[in-house]
């Protein structure tokens, strides 16, 4: 069954508990054996009386008789022997003195029985049987008084009535020793049995104490768990055990919960889901977690995360459910609040979108409504200038033209700012050759600078190789704005310089500095505020007050910065910062061999590339230079591109989306609308790689879509694939 010797003593509190259990077990055995002997004593007493009545009921004197002394002996001596130990078992149950009295009494009972049976040797077995029954106490000490009584009885009888015990007239003293020896012989094994029993009892006590300690720890974990825990009986479906957290959570006392089932506490709307989860667990799912609602005692709803699993017995049969419940009411409230907020935000956004849409429509309409009369004003103004007006008339026309241009600039800038703030500004951020953009801007500024006898200086550091990551059109717009301001607000004969500074690894700063009056430090913060012209309205210098504000937003939209440093009396230096990048052409030589391998395999043809960025144009020119059978036509404006397309009917059009005059999708739309160019395949090349934009262009009729920076291999593949396409029949379209 088990090896008693393997169980070591349990240390600490468990050891004390083990000792307590051991003593408790011993007391229980003592008491139970006391009760056994109490009954046995009474039985033996009655048996003695019956025996005496049967064997020797009467003694005779001739014809007369009376009760035999054996009957009286059985009644009185037997009663004396029995009753006192029985009384002891009532008054001193389990006490050592009781079992020792019982031991003596039991041996005396043996002596009485032997006497009543006339010394029958068979009756002596009562002695041995009594010793065995006494060993039920599992206390070897109790055998001592019993053995002493037997030994004394034999010893005394051996002396005075040897024939009564030994059946001989003169017994040797050794006979007493021999008889006692047999008793001792039995006692040895009874003592061994008692000691083994004690050892086993200690083993059981130690193991029980260890189990209790383990159970106590488990119970403590259960009771003190911060989450609600409960055990539910599968047969009754009622709670068998709940911890304090669960009771607190649900608002019932532990006693009240014991009389209920979890389903009685479940919100009616969650009953079906709860039953399903229970069935899922019973059908084999290890554990099941659901979020459900309980009803507290006060009727409130408790949102809980409930995890349940099955507790099985040693045979694997499902017996109970272990349910763990976490109060998530607050979380649910928070989630509901978040949902409410999201709904409110969504509503607000929708409202804002509607307002923005209304604003856009307003601006669009305003732009249209203002541009229409402006078109007439500026158009007719220009016609008047061409009709040799008088000096006075020319001055008046100049005023009209100046006011008209001012108004047109104002409209454009307002619309730009509005687009930026609405997030509708379309940018094509790509490597831009700064020198080219700057040159274009300076070309526009030179007439104004010449009028004011101003010198425009560009640092030699600004070489062709410098490329910045920006939208080409918007960078030019910003530079033009800064140069215009520098020229306008610098006194006649002054100087405007454009220089470059590398701030750190890849951020490059372009600086437009002038020798103007400078700006007081306290006004610098207002520079980028729309319509704030820093009190220069009276200076006669024209301006909308929107230029710098627009520049700031454009730079932010391109991922750059703008700033100013100014010293009154010496001048101002406006700067912009943008990330510097390698020229797209710089990587071309490395790819040239690969490009050759992947070169277009198709036959010859014409390709029209509509692109305003010279770097990109150059790149494509050089890539296609490897294909002598392909003729490349280029256009830096959308309108020019449309003209070239109609005139030359190219086999393929490569189209950039950000063009100075027309937007790319507008060019695409016109190509598709024109019967002459409708069949020419168009491949869009753009830095905008969003799926939405690609989908939009493909739907609008683009044959393919390439994203910048260009992958040469992909570029060739697309060119080849498009020019091989059987749909490519522009001539047929013309015909």
């Amino acid at each position: 069954m088990f090896e008693v010797g393997e169980m070591t003593a349990v240390p600490g509190a468990a050891g004390a508990r083990a000792e307590e259990l051991f003593q408790q077990h011993r007391r229980q055995i003592f008491r139970q054996t006391d009760q056994l002997f109490a009954r046995l004593m009474l039985f033996q007493w009655v048996a003695c009386i019956v025996l005496a009545l049967v064997v020797s009921p009467q003694t005779w004197d001739g014809a007369a008789s009376r009760v035999h002394i054996h009957v009286w002996s059985a009644l009185l001596i037997g009663g004396a022997i029995s009753l006192f130990p029985v009384w002891m078992t009532r008054v001193w149950p389990g006490a050592a003195v009781t079992r020792h009295v019982i031991a003596v009494a039991q041996m005396l009972m043996s002596a009485l029985l032997i006497a009543l049976t006339g010394g029958r040797i068979e009756t002596h077995f009562h002695v041995f049987g009594s010793l065995v029954i006494l060993s039920f106490y599992r206390d070897w000490k109790v055998l001592v008084p019993a053995t002493v009584v037997v030994a004394l009885d034999h010893f005394l009888r051996g002396i005075y009535l040897p024939y009564s015990v030994y059946g001989v007239l003169a017994a040797s003293p050794l006979r007493s020793v021999e008889h006692a020896g047999w008793v001792v012989f039995e006692n040895v094994f009874l003592v061994i049995s008692c000691l083994r029993s004690i050892k086993e009892m200690r083993f059981i006590a130690n193991r029980t104490a260890a189990l209790e300690a383990s159970d106590q720890r488990s119970r403590q974990l259960f009771d003190d768990a911060p989450i609600g825990m409960a055990v539910v009986a599968l047969d009754t479906e009622k709670f068998k055990q709940v911890n304090g957290s669960f009771a607190d959570m649900i608002g019932y006392s532990e006693e009240e919960l014991m009389a209920r089932t979890p389903l009685e506490l479940t919100h009616p709307e969650d009953l079906a889901e709860t039953r399903r989860s229970v069935e899922a667990i019973l059908n084999g799912t290890d554990r099941c977690a659901v979020e459900k609602r309980y009803l507290r005692k006060n009727g409130d709803v408790l949102w809980a995360s409930r995890t349940a699993c099955v507790i099985r017995d040693k045979d694997g049969q499902a017996r109970d459910f272990l349910v763990m419940v976490e109060d998530i009411t607050e979380r649910k409230r928070a989630e509901e609040a978040v949902r409410e907020t999201q709904r409110a935000l969504h509503d607000a956004k929708m409202e804002a979108d509607r307002a923005n849409q209304a604003k856009s429509e307003f601006l669009s309409r305003m732009s249209h409504e203002l541009r229409t009369p402006l078109n007439a004003i500026l158009g007719f103004g220009q016609l008047l200038e061409r009709q040799n007006p008088t000096v006075q008339q020319r001055a008046r026309v100049e005023h009209i033209m100046s006011a008209g241009r001012h108004l047109l600039n104002l409209i454009n800038e307002v619309l730009d700012i509005s687009r930026i703030e609405a997030g509708h500004l379309q940018l094509s951020v790509e490597p831009v050759a700064v020198a080219q953009v700057l040159e274009e801007a300076l070309d526009l500024m030179r007439p104004l600078a010449a009028d004011r006898a101003m010198e425009l200086i560009v640092d030699k550091e600004l070489e062709n190789d410098l490329h910045l990551l920006a939208d080409r059109q918007r960078l030019k717009q910003v530079l033009l704005n800064l140069l215009t301001n520098a020229v306008k607000y610098t006194a006649v004969g002054g100087q405007v310089r454009v220089s470059v500074e590398r701030t750190h690894s890849n951020i490059t700063r372009l600086v437009v500095s002038d020798t103007g009056a400078g700006i007081p430090t306290e006004k610098l913060a207002r520079l980028f505020t729309p319509f704030d012209r820093l009190d220069v309205e009276q200076s006669g210098v024209e301006g909308t007050g929107l230029g710098l504000a627009l520049c700031q937003r454009l730079m932010q939209a391109m991922g750059g910065n703008i700033g100013v440093e100014s010293v009154v009396g010496k001048g101002s230096a406006f700067w912009i910062e943008l990330p510097a990048v390698d020229s797209p052409l710089s990587a071309l030589p490395k790819r040239r061999n690969a490009a050759k391998d992947d070169a277009v395999a198709a036959g010859g043809g014409k390709i029209l590339y509509i692109e305003d960025n010279l770097s990109n144009l150059t790149l494509v020119e050089q890539m296609l230079a490897e294909q002598p059978h392909i003729e490349l036509l280029t256009a830096m404006q959308g309108g020019l591109g449309l003209d070239l397309a109609r005139k030359h009917l190219p086999d393929l059009i490569l189209l950039d989306l950000h063009l100075p005059d027309l937007r790319g999708h507008e060019v695409l739309a016109r190509l598709r609308q024109d019967a002459v160019t409708r069949a020419i395949p168009v491949v869009v090349i753009s830095a905008d790689a969003t799926a939405r934009q690609i989908q939009r262009l493909m739907t609008a009729g683009a044959q393919n879509y390439l994203t910048k920076p260009l992958d040469v291999r992909e570029f060739y593949r697309v060119i080849d694939e498009t020019m091989r396409s059987p749909d490519r029949q522009p001539e047929a379209a013309v015909a």
Binding site: G62, A63, S73, G118
Partner: protein, 218 residues
Amino acid sequence: MGSARRSTIVIHSRKNIFITCLLATAWMAALAFGGRVLFKYETTAGQVGPVAANWPASSTVPRVTGKPTLLMLAHPHCPCTRASIAELAQIMAHAYGKANAFVLFTKPAGAGPDWDDTDLRHSAAAIPGVTVLTDENGAEAARFGAETSGHTLVFDPSGTLIFSGGITASRGHAGENAGESAVLAALKQEPTGRERAPVFGCSLTGRTSMSGGKLCSK
């Protein structure tokens, strides 16, 4: 509260200890007294009358010459005589054919016909070589001078008494004893070592009760 309760327990225990000691003393005394009475009863022999030194001529018991004759006088209802009959069986087993044996069960005057139809008589009758007779009104007992059940007499072939007494060691106790040994020796016509032995059994005559003596005692 705790200390008061503890005090109560202590007082209660002391009271119990006192009573227990008292009862234990009484118990031991009672047992000692009872044991002594029983011991005395077991070891007290019965009365023996004037035993005839020779086979009485008036006896109706048919003595056979040439062999020793064993005569046991017994009360048919005496429980103590069971041991004597048992010892007689032992003796006869050893001396079968060497002696004539009679067991006379006394039948008082006025006793019913079934008076001596007892298990004791049947036991005696079952012993090989033993003749069971009824001693009407104890006449033979009187002739031989036997007053206690189990009294055994052995006469030599010439009718001379060679042993008189009991063949059990004590009242109702079977087993080897001096009387038994002497009887066996006498039946084998060997030196007996003793001619008398105490007799343990009930009174045959009723005189004991009439004289106020103890039953089954001298």
